[in-house]
C-alpha cells in the first residue's frame, strides 16, 4: 500500500508539472473537438493527431496522447447521443438510449450523466491499474483462443438482449453481421472471400464505413422522410445537467458498469468492446420496467458509458505491463511510444518508472480535465441541436465524408459508406435494428479467428471449449443469458414482450 502511494506520488509529481497539465488539457480538448465530429472515431482521431505529438518529450507526448484518447472516446459518445452516430463499436450502445434522451430534450442530462459516469469509472480504473496492474496481467494470459471464442459467444448472446423488437429479427441481424465480417481476405489462407474480385474489399469492410452507413447515413434518410419528427430537438430543451433524481437512478448502473468494463478491458483482443454491451444487458434485465430501455432510460446511458471508460482505461494494463497492445487504439499508442524511443515491454515499469507512473497519474488528471472541459461544453453541444435540420444533415455528411476518407485515405470508402447507407435504410424499412448487426460484425472477425486458432491448436477437437474451465464457464453463462432472453418469448404473453 505504501509502495503504491509512493509510486503515485512519483507519478503525480511528473503529471502535475505545468507543462504536462497543459498538455493533458490540450490533448483532452483537441481529442474531444475532433472526436465529436461525426464520422471521426477515436482511432481516426488518434491517427490524425499522432503527428502533432512528435515534437514533445516522451512523457509529455504520452500524456497528451492519453488525453486525446479519452477526449476522442468521450467525443464519440457525444456524437452518439446527439446525432445517433457511433464513432466506434463501444458507443453503439450509447445511441440506443442516449439519442432517445436527446430527442426528448434531455440531451444535456444524457451528456452530463455520461461525463460523470465516465469520470467515476476513470477514477476507479486508475486506482485499479495502480494497485493491481501487474497481478491482473496474469488474467490476460489465462485467455487463449478457446476462452476468447467462448467470450465472443457470450457477447453474441448479449446482442439478443439488446434487441428492442422481435427476437427473431435480432437473430437475423446478428447473423448478417457475422456474415459481413467474413468478407475480405481470409486471415488463415489468404483467399479472397465474397469480394466480387473488387480489390478495395480485400481487407474486408471497415467498421467505420459500416457504422457510418447503417447509423449515420441511414438515420439521415429516415429523418428526411418525416419532416415532423426530424428536428432532433423539437420540444423544449430541459435541464442541462442531471439533477439529484437522475444521479440517484444512475449510481448503481455506474458502479456495475465500472466493474464490468474494468474486467473486460484487461483482456487483450478487444475484450473492452463487450463492456458496454454487457452492462446494457444487465441493466435491462434487472430493471423493474425493461420496456423503458430503448426509449431514453438513463440507466442505459450511465452503465454502458461507465463500462466504456473503465474498459478504455484498463486496456492500458496489458500495454503498460506486458507491452502487448490489446486493440487498435493501443497499437497506435505503441507506435507513439516507439517513435519517442520507448519500446513498450515488461520492463517499462522498472526502467522508466517516471513514465509509467506519470502516465497512470495523468490518466486520472485526463479524466478530471474531461469533466472540466465537457460540463461547460454540454450547453454548446445542446445548442448545436437547434441548428435547422436542413443545414444539419449536409454538415453531418461533409464531416462523415472527410472523416471516412481520412481513415485510410481511400475515396472508395466513402462510396461504400453510401452503399451501406442504402442498406441500412432498407433494414430500417424492414423493421430491423442495426445495433445487433454491428455487434455481430465486430465480434464475428474475432470469433472466426479464435475458433480456427483454437481448433488448429486442439487438432480439430471441439472438446477444447468445454475442457478448459474458463471457456466452459463462459459458455454456461451464455446459455443462461440466452435462456433468460428467450424465456418470455416462450410464454403466452408473446406479443407484449416481442414488441416492447
Amino acid at each position: 500500500m505504501s509502495e503504491m502511494i509512493s509510486h503515485l506520488t512519483l507519478g503525480f509529481g511528473v503529471a502535475l508539472t505545468l507543462q504536462n497539465l497543459a498538455l493533458a488539457f490540450v490533448g483532452c480538448l483537441v481529442g474531444t473537438l475532433i472526436g465529436v465530429l461525426p464520422g471521426v472515431g477515436p482511432i481516426a482521431t488518434i491517427a490524425m493527431l499522432l503527428p502533432i505529438t512528435f515534437g514533445l518529450d516522451p512523457v509529455g507526448a504520452l500524456i497528451m496522447l492519453a488525453g486525446i484518447y479519452y477526449g476522442a472516446q468521450y467525443g464519440g459518445s457525444t456524437t452518439a447521443i446527439l446525432v445517433n452516430i457511433p464513432g466506434e463499436a463501444t458507443s453503439v450502445v450509447t445511441t440506443l438510449d442516449g439519442h432517445q434522451m436527446a430527442k426528448q430534450g434531455r440531451a444535456g442530462v444524457a451528456l452530463g450523466t455520461a461525463a460523470l459516469g465516465s469520470f467515476f469509472a476513470g477514477c476507479v480504473a486508475t486506482v485499479v491499474i495502480a494497485a493491481l496492474g501487474a497481478p491482473l496481467t496474469r488474467l490476460a494470459l489465462l485467455f487463449g483462443p478457446a476462452e476468447y471464442f467462448s467470450l465472443m459467444v457470450m457477447g453474441l448472446c448479449f446482442a439478443v438482449v439488446l434487441a428492442r423488437g422481435s427476437i427473431l429479427k435480432a437473430f437475423c441481424m446478428i447473423m448478417l453481421g457475422l456474415l459481413l465480417s467474413t468478407v475480405g481476405t481470409d486471415l488463415e489462407t489468404g483467399q479472397e472471400r465474397m469480394t466480387f474480385g473488387f480489390p478495395p474489399l480485400s481487407d474486408g469492410i471497415d467498421f467505420a464505413v459500416l457504422a457510418m452507413g447503417v447509423f449515420g447515413f441511414a438515420e439521415v434518410l429516415r429523418n428526411l422522410e418525416n419532416p415532423e419528427t426530424r428536428d432532433v430537438v423539437k420540444a423544449k430543451i430541459g435541464r442541462l445537467l442531471p439533477d439529484w433524481n437522475d444521479i440517484k437512478q444512475s449510481i448503481n448502473p455506474v458502479l456495475r458498469g465500472t466493474g464490468i468494463g474494468a474486467i473486460l478491458g484487461i483482456l487483450p483482443g478487444n475484450g473492452a468492446v463487450l463492456g458496454p454491451f454487457a452492462s446494457y444487458t444487465i441493466e435491462k434485465k434487472i430493471a423493474k420496467d425493461p420496456s423503458r430501455f430503448g426509449r431514453g432510460a438513463i440507466e442505459g446511458v450511465a452503465g454502458p458509458e461507465s463500462a466504456n471508460n473503465a474498459g478504455a482505461q484498463t486496456a492500458f494494463i496489458p500495454l503498460l505491463t506486458l507491452g502487448i497492445p490489446p486493440n487498435a487504439v493501443m497499437a497506435l499508442m505503441v507506435g507513439a511510444m516507439t517513435i519517442h524511443g520507448i519500446i513498450p515491454g515488461p520492463q517499462v515499469m522498472t526502467k522508466n518508472p517516471e513514465l509509467f507512473w506519470g502516465m497512470i497519474a495523468s490518466m486520472w488528471i485526463g479524466n478530471l480535465m474531461l469533466l472540466v472541459i465537457n460540463l461547460p461544453l454540454v450547453g454548446l453541444w445542446v445548442k448545436l441541436l437547434q441548428v435547422p435540420y436542413r443545414l444539419m444533415f449536409p454538415a453531418i455528411l461533409i464531416f462523415c465524408c472527410i472523416g471516412i476518407y481520412s481513415v485510410n485515405n481511400q475515396p472508395v470508402d466513402v462510396a461504400f459508406t453510401a452503399l451501406f447507407g442504402l442498406f441500412g435504410y432498407i433494414l430500417i424499412k424492414l423493421g430491423f435494428e442495426p445495433a445487433p448487426m454491428l455487434l455481430g460484425f465486430v465480434l464475428g472477425k474475432l470469433m472466426e479467428e479464435k475458433l480456427r486458432q483454437a481448433l488448429i491448436i486442439s487438432r480439430g477437437s471441439f472438446m477444447t471449449f468445454v475442457e478448459r474451465p474458463i471457456s466452459a464457464g463462459l459458455l454456461v453463462v451464455s446459455v443462461i443469458v440466452l435462456t433468460i432472453a428467450l424465456m418470455p418469448a416462450m410464454s403466452k404473453k408473446r406479443d407484449e414482450v416481442f414488441t416492447e
Binding site: 486471415l187 489468404g190 480485400s202 507506435g335 479467428e449 488448429i456 491448436i457
Partner: protein, 324 residues
C-alpha cells in the same frame, strides 16, 4: 483562426508562384510519401523519422499519407501508378517489394522492372522466438525438434502476406516442413500475447516487436537471422553461429518512386535520404528501434534495387509453393 487564414493566404500565394517557377528547381511543392500501412506501425515509424529530416534537406514538407490495405500492396500500387514527377514516393518493405509478386498473383505493379528504387532506409533483423518453456534449448536442438515432431508444434504469424508469415514460411521451407501447423493472428500483438502465455510454440518476427519480451524473459530467442548480432540483444546468436547459416533474412524498409521519375528528383531524394541517415539524431532513433543502418551501397538506387531482386529470388520459390 487569424493565423490560419494568414497561413492559407500565404500558402495560396506560394502555390501560385511555385507553379510558375521554371523547371530544375525540384521540389517546388510538398511531397507525398505513401506508407502502405496504418499509422503507428514499424514502417510508419521509420517513414516518419526519416521523412522529417529529408524535408529539411529538400526544403519542402514530406507529407506522410497512410494508405493501408491488402498487405501494403494497395498503397504501393497507388504510389507507383501516380504521375512520375517526384512528388509521390512510397516507403515499402520486404513484403511489398520482394515478397508481394509471389504472394499476390494479381499484383498491379512490378517492383523489379516497373519501379524507380530510391534507397534503403533501414533493415530490421528477424528473430526466431519461442515460448519460454519449449523443450529445445538452442537453435540446433530446435531444428532437430521441428524435424522430429512436425505435428506437435504450432507456429504463429500475423496473417498471410505479413512479415512474420513471409519469414517463417521461408524458415519452414528451408527446414523441409512447409506444412507445419500455422496459426494466423490479426497482427503481431495478439500473436505475441499467445506466445507469452504459452498457447503457441514459436514464431518469427521483427526485433522491434519481440526484443522487450526476450529481455523480460517472457519468451526465448533462438537466433537472429542477420549477419551480425544486434546491440539490442547481444546475447542472441546469429543463425550462422547457431548452425542454420542459410536462414538469412531482414525485414527492411526502403523508399521507391514510380518508374520514369526525373533524374533530378531521384538524385535529390537519394541525397536527402543519405543526409537523413547520416544525421546523429535520426541514427540514434533508428538504432533504438533495433534497426541496422544500411550500407553506402544500399542507400543508392542500384544497390536497393539489387537487394529487392535478391530477396525476391530468395523468397519466390518458397512463397509460391507455400500452402495458403
Amino acid at each position: 483562426m487569424k493565423k490560419l487564414m494568414l497561413g492559407l493566404a500565404a500558402s495560396l500565394a506560394l502555390a501560385f508562384t511555385g507553379g510558375a517557377q521554371a523547371q530544375g528547381t525540384y521540389p517546388t511543392k510538398p511531397i507525398t510519401m505513401i506508407v502502405p500501412f496504418a499509422a503507428g506501425g514499424p514502417t510508419d515509424i521509420i517513414a516518419r523519422i526519416v521523412s522529417e529530416h529529408m524535408s529539411k534537406t529538400l526544403g519542402q514538407q514530406i507529407v506522410v499519407e497512410n494508405v493501408a490495405g491488402a498487405g501494403g500492396t494497395t498503397g504501393i500500387a497507388r504510389a507507383l501508378t501516380s504521375t512520375p514527377d517526384g512528388y509521390t514516393i512510397a516507403m515499402g518493405h520486404l513484403g511489398t517489394f520482394s515478397a508481394a509478386p509471389a504472394t499476390y498473383p494479381g499484383l498491379k505493379y512490378d517492383p523489379i522492372n516497373g519501379m524507380q528504387a530510391i534507397g534503403l532506409a533501414g533493415g530490421t533483423p528477424i528473430l526466431i522466438v519461442a515460448r519460454k518453456n519449449l523443450e529445445p534449448k538452442d537453435l540446433k536442438e530446435f531444428v532437430a525438434y521441428v524435424k522430429a515432431n512436425p505435428d506437435k508444434l504450432n507456429e504463429a504469424h500475423a496473417g498471410v502476406g505479413s512479415v512474420s508469415w513471409t519469414t517463417c514460411t521461408l524458415l519452414k521451407g528451408q527446414l523441409g516442413v512447409p506444412k507445419l501447423n500455422a496459426v494466423a493472428y490479426r497482427g503481431t500483438g495478439p500473436a505475441l500475447n499467445d506466445l507469452v502465455s504459452g498457447q503457441i510454440d514459436f514464431m518469427c518476427d521483427q526485433i522491434v516487436s519481440v526484443a522487450e519480451q526476450v529481455k523480460g524473459d517472457n519468451i526465448k530467442a533462438y537466433a537472429i537471422a542477420s549477419a551480425e548480432r544486434s546491440p539490442a540483444l547481444p546475447n542472441v546468436p546469429t543463425t550462422k553461429e547457431a548452425g542454420l547459416p542459410d536462414y538469412q533474412i531482414e525485414a527492411w524498409n526502403g523508399i521507391a518512386a514510380p518508374k520514369g521519375t526525373p533524374k533530378e528528383a531521384v538524385d535529390k531524394l537519394v541525397d536527402a535520404l543519405d543526409k537523413a541517415l547520416k544525421d546523429e539524431t535520426v541514427k540514434k532513433r533508428l538504432l533504438d528501434l533495433g534497426t541496422v543502418m544500411p550500407s553506402a551501397e544500399e542507400r543508392t538506387p542500384a544497390g536497393f534495387a539489387a537487394l529487392i531482386k535478391r530477396d525476391a529470388d530468395k523468397l519466390s520459390p518458397t512463397l509460391a509453393a507455400a500452402p495458403k
